[in-house]
């Protein structure tokens, strides 16, 4: 196998392997660029359905973080609250975070691709309400698009972060291998129009960077 052959196969097999991600990032971008679509279909507000009420928090080590507590303390609080609510499994498989939404309320938001939940915790009464979010296609796609990073618990979340990097490197490799394939094309017309497209894109991008 010579280099041009290897280059073509890399371009092809990489694209086929990462095809679900290319399609997902492409389709989900529609809802970022045109959020009015989702709002038109589902309305502005998220719909939550109550699933459970928790009357009290039995953990004797349970301490409610003070307002302005550092993110790690809030996160630790979220872990304890999830376990108390019988949702300990979510710690490893969901993206979660705790946010103070009022002087007496902390919300723990639990995101999964196919459904999200939240726990609304009353800091004064130490009671909680578990709610499930109504499924929305726009949020399904935008949530999947935006998921990444390495701050969450659990090995599969870490692997997803690695896959996001792989997909990004894949895009750069398609660009590099595609440029090489264009350059080695025999057809003169394709070479000439290719230059027009390439230089047109570079010039446009430069203007945007300078003027926007």
């Amino acid at each position: 196998m010579n280099f041009p052959h290897f280059n073509r196969r890399l371009h092809l097999y990489l694209s086929l392997g990462l095809l679900p991600w290319v399609l997902m990032y492409g389709v989900s971008s529609v809802f970022f660029a045109h959020p009015e679509l989702g709002r038109g279909w589902y309305g502005d507000r998220m719909q939550w359905q109550t699933k459970a009420m928790i009357a009290g928090v039995p953990d004797p080590n349970f301490r409610v973080p003070a307002p302005g507590a550092p993110p790690e303390e809030m996160r630790q609080f979220a872990r304890i609250l999830l376990n108390t609510a019988g949702m300990g499994g979510e710690v490893e498989s969901s993206s979660f975070g705790a946010y103070r939404t009022g002087p007496k309320q902390i919300n723990v938001y639990v995101y999964r691709f196919l459904g999200s939940k939240q726990i609304r915790f009353d800091t004064e009464k130490q009671t909680a309400v578990v709610e499930e979010k109504q499924f929305r296609w726009d949020h399904f796609f935008t949530g999947m698009h935006a998921r990444g990073g390495f701050e969450q618990d659990g090995v599969w979340q870490y692997v997803w972060g690695v896959i996001v990097d792989v997909a990004s490197i894949g895009f750069l490799l398609w660009l590099a291998t595609g440029l090489y394939m264009w350059w080695t094309l025999g057809a003169r017309t394709a070479r000439a129009w290719g230059w027009v497209a390439l230089l047109g894109g570079l010039a446009s991008f430069t203007v945007f960077m300078a003027k926007l």
Partner: protein, 198 residues
């Protein structure tokens, strides 16, 4: 003929949108490794630094909309361009951002003394990557912003087209069908696994 048109469309779109492909890929990696930037710059948004002070002596009639005020202030500063239009604070002070991909401005107009404070955000790589990645939409009445939004839409269409035309081109090449199917199958299974697992 169809196949040739598809191949050429696939290629020319990629050549034209090459800078955007690179930008989205690099900015995705930057956002995926945001903790690295916290180490470099600390948490929170980049600070603003004072550029100059000016005055807007005429003032505005009570009830003037934010859209009118922000546009007039920017014109007086010779900074007309994409900007936010938030409501004034209770004391009438109007704080808004003038967008800029590299270093956005923050403008503070105080009606009591007619002073305008112009500040610029300190440059940070992660902020640049975020801004580039997230800029989109047709909300701004400026031609260049509209053109950027069109290119973002073109990129979305191109991404789907690259995927579908790539599938077509692969199917046309009998020699690569077997290993192509293996790649496609592995990708689909891994994707489905994560969809259910996470």
């Amino acid at each position: 003929m169809f196949s040739k048109v598809l191949r050429r469309t696939h290629m020319y779109l990629a050549l034209f949108l090459g800078p955007w492909v690179a930008m989205y890929a690099i900015s995705t990696m930057a956002m995926n490794h945001r903790e690295l930037f916290v180490g470099m710059y600390g948490r929170g948004p980049a600070p603003f630094e004072k550029v100059r002070e000016a005055s807007y002596p005429g003032g505005f009639a009570p009830g003037t909309s934010s859209e009118v005020m922000t546009a007039a202030i920017l014109r007086s500063l010779d900074l007309d361009g994409a900007h936010g239009t938030p409501r004034p604070r209770e004391d009438g002070t109007l704080v808004f951002q003038r967008q800029d991909i590299i270093r956005p401005y923050r403008i503070t107009y105080t009606p009591a003394d007619g002073k305008v404070l112009v500040e610029r955000q300190r440059f940070q790589w992660n902020a640049l990557m975020n801004t580039l990645h997230r800029r989109r939409g047709y909300q701004q009445p400026y031609a260049l912003d509209g053109a950027w939004a069109v290119i973002v839409d073109l990129f979305i269409v191109a991404a789907v087209l690259w995927a579908l035309s790539g599938l077509w081109m692969w199917w046309e090449m009998k020699a690569t069908r077997k290993w192509g199917a293996v790649s496609l199958g592995i990708g689909a299974v891994v994707f489905a696994f994560f969809l259910v697992r996470l």
